[in-house]
């Protein structure tokens, strides 16, 4: 039996605001329990919500970035249910009239040159408040409630069920993660819960038109868990169906320790959230002027930038995609190219993607904490290009700059005497000495063994302590050995 997997994602992105969506309490992560829960957050009797402008602006930014429709008028609704981490007994969310409708996201599935593009449609994105946290450590058999997170602004981004594998789901989640960080609306910190996914998973026989019954896997806060949870869930659903069973619609949790999903025990109450427009909040109106202003402030989007990098800098699709994985990285690269000159775009790309990436990786730093500035790196690339130093010396200069051993490439080259030998008299002497000292190599080369010249180049490089330009040495040797 062939099965088709159908996946839609609901992603909660915590918006990068200082204060909560409906109150003036701080949103900082990691505070002591309940000290960032003000009267509105703990739902004292009589308190009222007032909407945070920045949260709305984030939603507009997102809507414009995905090409969705930013509603001129949207409505906040109450989603009613009882849970100890939900102080009001309802969550303020948007239901029938969300702030963003439609839009799409282009994802790349697969690695490197093999990657294929796919467009995932978005259903909507709406503003809502986060709940608090229930801590299940043992307080004499009770749970502890921390409401610091209650009221944190979230943008819930709902995709169409357009994904057909866990790989696609992860690619979508990654693209979305990159985008929300790119446009500055979410810090994307998954460990802290700033970006978490619910996956709606169903399977159906290949060719069937009707969607299968879906189960919703809640609260996946890493790409790995997303993949594992979907893979497990798909196999489980196929197993049930192949055994002649039926899938019941359910909300399930993923247990990272066992790698399994299981249906939640609570909330088994027939869901009836009794949504209705929140009488404490008036309709959210976003006029054209505000949208235009946000659009003007929006950075160039990753798709556009990727195309431009390929076009203007002659980069491969893979290189362009790698360099536009995050806005800070792309900006670093562009500064580097700007300082080095556009003709050096390709070597700049290599330095950023290979040497710098490896160094950052080792030090577990992100590009915003790069130990070398874009200008320093550009200076280095220029000195290699103009022959001042060799590529091999370049790596030494790179390390020195990263270690703070000089203000720029030129200073390091001078201080450490890494300049390539430009004195052709001295170099000719070294070439002559190599020819004299390696008659066998000379003979082999003359006999037509092209490779033998490398041994001679190596000798000269060694004698020059690496300062000779290998290209120049090669040319000199060939000239001398010309029959």
């Amino acid at each position: 039996m062939q099965w088709e997997v159908v996946i839609g994602l609901e992603t909660h992105a915590q918006l990068a605001t200082e204060s909560k969506i409906f109150s003036g309490a701080a949103t900082a992560f990691g505070a002591e329990p309940n000290i960032q829960a003000c009267g509105v957050d703990i739902a004292l009797p009589g308190v009222l919500p007032v909407l945070n402008r920045k949260a709305v602006e984030c939603a507009i930014r997102f809507g414009l970035a995905v090409g969705g429709e930013v509603a001129p008028r949207s409505v906040f609704a109450r989603k009613n249910y009882f849970y100890p981490d939900l102080p009001k007994g309802y969550q303020i969310s948007q239901f029938e009239e969300p702030v963003v409708s439609g839009g799409q996201l282009v994802i790349r599935v697969g690695q490197g040159a093999e990657a294929v593009e796919k467009t995932v449609r978005l259903t909507r994105a709406h503003l809502e408040e986060d709940a608090g946290k229930s801590l299940h450590e043992d307080f004499h058999g009770k749970s502890g409630i921390d409401l610091n997170r209650a009221g944190t602004p979230l943008l819930e981004i709902v995709s169409e069920p357009d994904m057909r594998s866990s790989q696609e789901a992860v690619a979508y989640a990654r693209a979305l993660h990159a985008l929300v960080r790119w446009i500055g609306i979410c810090d994307g910190n998954m460990q802290e819960g700033s970006f978490r996914c619910d996956a709606n998973v169903s399977v159906r026989r290949k060719g069937a038109e009707k969607l299968g019954t879906r189960r919703e896997i809640k609260n996946l806060n890493s790409f790995r868990f997303l993949q594992q949870a979907i893979d497990y869930e798909v196999q489980w659903q196929i197993g049930v169906l192949e055994d002649g069973g039926k899938i019941e619609q359910a909300t399930v949790l993923f247990n990272p320790d066992t790698g399994e999903t299981r249906a939640m025990r609570s909330k088994e109450d027939a869901h009836d959230y009794r949504y209705f427009p929140d009488p404490d909040l008036l309709p959210l109106v976003i006029d054209a002027a505000w949208k235009d202003q946000v659009r003007a402030e929006l950075p160039e989007l990753p798709d556009a930038m990727r195309a431009r990098f390929a076009r203007d800098y002659g980069l491969s699709a893979y290189d362009a995609a790698t360099l536009t994985a995050a806005l800070e990285l792309a900006r670093f690269y562009e500064s580097c190219v700007a300082a080095a000159g556009r003709e050096l775009a390709k070597p700049c790309a290599n330095w950023v993607m290979v040497d710098l990436a490896a160094r950052l990786n080792r030090a577990e730093l992100d590009i915003s904490h790069s130990p070398i500035t874009a200008q320093q790196l550009a200076g280095l690339v220029r000195r290699i290009a103009d022959g001042t130093i060799s590529n091999a010396m370049g790596k030494k200069v790179f390390d020195a700059l990263c270690n703070g051993e000089g203000a720029d490439a030129d200073a390091v080259i001078e201080a450490q005497g890494l300049r390539q030998m430009n004195d052709s008299g001295a170099l000719e002497a070294l070439v002559d000495a190599a020819i004299a000292g390696n008659p066998r190599s000379v003979e082999e080369y003359r006999a037509g063994k092209e490779k033998a010249i490398q041994a001679l180049v190596g000798q000269v490089m060694k004698a020059s302590k690496g300062k000779a330009n290998p290209q120049q040495v090669n040319e000199l040797l060939r000239a001398r050995l010309k029959p």
Partner: protein, 483 residues
């Protein structure tokens, strides 16, 4: 002294004829003597009141006295006042000491008024007789076997018995106007949004408005000057320039067009009340006003629409009372769900539970459109009726309630009979219009209220008309026997 108006009290204080401490002690003594019989107060605090009075006297000595400085006041126990037990007349909040001040509470404190206590009310403002209070019913000072009306019945009884010169109330469907009518007082519900709802324990958020209750229209105008004003903490608070609500008190009535909705004088109106209201209208004509017949064709639907909208909002507003962060928690329970169910069942009285059930039902899946949405559409029709009516008149007048005060217990077994008490007052809440009730005579020895409904933001004109009437009549000076 106890029958003086607020401006007369203010003048006496300003002239040094009496100090705020003396005045406050006078009223406190009356409270101590009369309250055990009337049950108008849930809480009286002599020490705090005298502290506030001393502060008022000090402010006056320092030349910082306003028109209300030093005058005693009571708040309906729906207003949160920092450090005061704030119960909403519910067992749920029996021991709730508010950690903050309602906006209105802060404003009146800033105006120098002296808070002596918190008044009894229907539980969570749900009732028209003050019999649903967990702390027992309030007696009507005109006849202790009669109800004072509700839900602001404690405030009404306290003023009528001259235990305080003025008090706050709230009006969701008539809760200021109806008890004012039944106790022979003046009470005003402003246009929705004029007084901040911040710190007023919510019943039905889209209908609730705070307002003043006092002996005369002039007193209400002075109180409203202090209570009204923009509050950034309430999203529905209106940001408009401050208004002097006394500015039209001297305006003659000549040419004033008074609309008489034929629906308010139809079957269901007590003949005695009808005659008294007719006489009051004659008085207005004598003073130069003209009356025009108007129609509010959908007014008959205001009670049905109200008993969908108000319970729907209430069911959600009261979800925060779950025994987790404050309020009543049951002593015995087996698990979390049981704790919720028992705490709420024990904490809420019968009428509150009834309305929560109605509200839950009309919002639930499959019934939303037929009830909640239909009620909201009818609300629109009712608002349009008023809009059309105000093309033909400046003010609308009619009876406040279909009858005078009824005996305690007479209607408590029949919710529908109780609900019909608000048949003339509810429409103003649905439309958001200002309304007031002023005493206009007696039927069967009990006070009758004349209701005035103004166009949006036309409080000043409404107060002016009421004041002109009171300049020419004595009904507002009448006092229950034996005071």
């Amino acid at each position: 002294m106890i029958n003086l108006s607020l401006s007369e009290l203010g003048a006496a204080l300003a002239a040094g004829q009496i100090s705020s401490v003396e005045l406050t002690q006078l009223f406190l003594d009356r409270c101590a003597r009369e309250n055990p019989r009337l049950n108008a107060f849930i809480c009286l605090d002599q020490a705090r009141a005298l502290d506030a009075a001393r502060a008022a006297d000090a402010a006056r000595a320092a030349g910082r006295a306003g028109p209300l400085t030093g005058i005693p006041l009571a708040h309906k126990d729906i207003f949160c006042a920092r450090g005061w037990r704030t119960t909403c007349a519910s067992r749920m909040l029996e021991n709730f000491v508010s950690p903050y001040d309602a906006h209105v509470v802060g404003l009146l404190q800033d105006a120098g008024m002296v808070l002596v206590g918190k008044t009894n009310m229907d539980e969570f403002a749900m009732g028209s007789s003050n019999e649903t209070s967990y702390f027992g019913p309030v007696k009507n000072p005109w006849d202790h076997t009669m109800v004072p009306g509700g839900s602001s019945g404690g405030s009404a009884a306290a003023i009528a018995a001259r235990l305080v010169p003025a008090a706050t109330g709230t009006d969701t469907g008539g809760s200021i106007r109806q008890p004012a009518a039944l106790c022979g007082l003046s009470g005003l519900k402003p246009t929705y949004g004029v007084c901040s709802r911040y710190g007023m324990i919510a019943f039905a958020s889209s209908l609730d408005q705070a307002g003043p209750m006092a002996k005369s229209a002039e007193d209400c105008a002075l109180m409203l000057n202090a209570m009204a004003g923009f509050d950034a903490r309430d999203s529905t608070s209106l940001d408009r320039p401050a208004e002097n609500y006394t500015r039209l008190l001297g305006e003659p009535l000549a040419g004033l067009r008074i609309g008489l909705p034929r629906e308010y004088f139809a079957a269901g109106l007590d003949a005695g009340v009808h005659a008294v209201v007719d006489a009051a209208l004659d008085q207005f004509r004598k003073l130069g006003a003209v009356t025009v017949d108007i129609s509010l064709p959908n007014s008959g639907l205001s009670v049905p629409a109200y008993y969908v909208i108000a319970p729907a909002e209430a069911s959600s507003n009261l979800s925060r009372f779950d025994g987790v962060r404050y309020g009543h928690r049951a002593a015995d329970y087996s698990d979390l769900a049981d704790m919720y169910c028992r705490s709420r069942a024990e904490g809420f009285g019968a009428e509150v539970k009834r309305r929560i059930l109605i509200g839950t039902y009309v919002l639930s899946h499959g019934y939303y459109d037929a009830y909640y949405l239909q009620a909201q559409k009818i609300r629109r029709l009712i608002a349009r009726d008023f809009q059309a009516a105000f093309e033909h008149c400046d003010l609308i007048m009619g009876p406040t309630a279909p009858d005078v005060a009824f005996p305690l217990g007479a209607k408590s077994a029949d919710p529908v009979q109780m609900y019909l008490n608000d048949i003339y007052t509810i429409a103003a809440n649905l439309a958001g219009l200002p309304g007031m009730s002023i005493p206009c005579g007696f039927a069967r020895g009990l006070p009758v209220g004349l209701q005035l409904v103004g166009a949006w933001f036309d409080e000043a004109r409404m107060l002016g008309a009421a004041h002109q009437y009171q300049l020419n009549t004595d009904w507002h000076r009448a006092m229950p026997a034996g005071l």
